[in-house]
């Protein structure tokens, strides 16, 4: 005796199969709006980039000053 289970599947539109749902999801991910970047929270990234960059600038000038003193 065959048993069919009609389980609810999330996010699948009517008439759409699983493969079509997967293709639709991938297409939505690749679609970029012009204001996408402004939705990102980049505060932590910004602080780390500026901190590490600042360390690089400071060490560059420290070595340059040492070089000039030894001339």
């Amino acid at each position: 005796m065959k048993v069919f289970y009609n389980l609810p599947i999330e996010n699948v539109k009517e008439g759409e199969n699983m493969t079509e749902k997967k293709d639709r999801n991938e297409e939505e991910k690749q679609h970029h709006d012009a204001d996408d970047h402004h939705k990102l929270d980049l505060r932590g990234t910004f602080m780390m980039v500026m901190t590490i960059g600042g360390l690089m600038v400071l060490s560059w000038f420290a070595v340059f000053i040492l070089f000039m003193e030894r001339m």
Partner: protein, 163 residues
């Protein structure tokens, strides 16, 4: 582009521009070019036949631009001379060559850091103002005795007992 992205890209590009400008001005107007290595050539098999390197050491210069010429031969695994005294305040032009393999020539505590390459003579002019000792080390791996390859420059006040 996010506001923060614009800021850090601008900061990075500005830093690079500033570094390049400082280095460029320093090189062109300050004469701070890489150590003049390899401008003059010498036959590495006949280094000891050259009058300058036959008895390496400190010699009074005939050139008005500096006081002394200091000739070094870097070979495996020693520098000749092993020790040299220089009067403080004198301007010295250092000439280094190698008859065998590539060696380094770094005078610790100064900006002198160059390669001694067979066939080429590396030179650097330096004024030694402060009395003290400066170790010379080889920082280019040259063989089993590389770590023991050292010499010494003693900058002494007043006259020098030259070797």
């Amino acid at each position: 582009m996010h506001k923060f992205e614009k800021i850090w890209l601008s900061a990075g590009t500005a830093s690079l521009a500033i570094f390049l400008i400082i280095i460029g001005i320093s090189a062109v107007h300050g004469g701070h070019t890489p150590a003049a290595s390899g401008i003059e050539t010498i036959n590495p098999e006949h280094v000891r036949d050259d009058a300058r390197f036959k008895e390496p050491g400190l010699k009074e210069s005939a050139d008005d631009d500096y006081d002394y010429d200091l000739y070094f031969v870097a070979s495996a695994f020693m520098y000749e001379p092993g020790e040299v005294e220089i009067p403080s305040g004198s301007t010295v032009k250092i000439h280094v060559t190698s008859p065998d393999v590539v060696h380094g020539f770094q005078v610790v505590g100064t900006n002198i850091n160059m390669i001694a390459e067979p066939g080429l003579i590396s030179t650097y002019e330096m004024t030694f103002d402060e009395p003290g000792e400066h170790l010379i080390v080889c920082n280019e791996y040259c063989g089993v005795g590389h770590t023991d390859m050292t010499s010494m420059i003693n900058v002494v006040a007043g006259g020098a007992d030259n070797e």
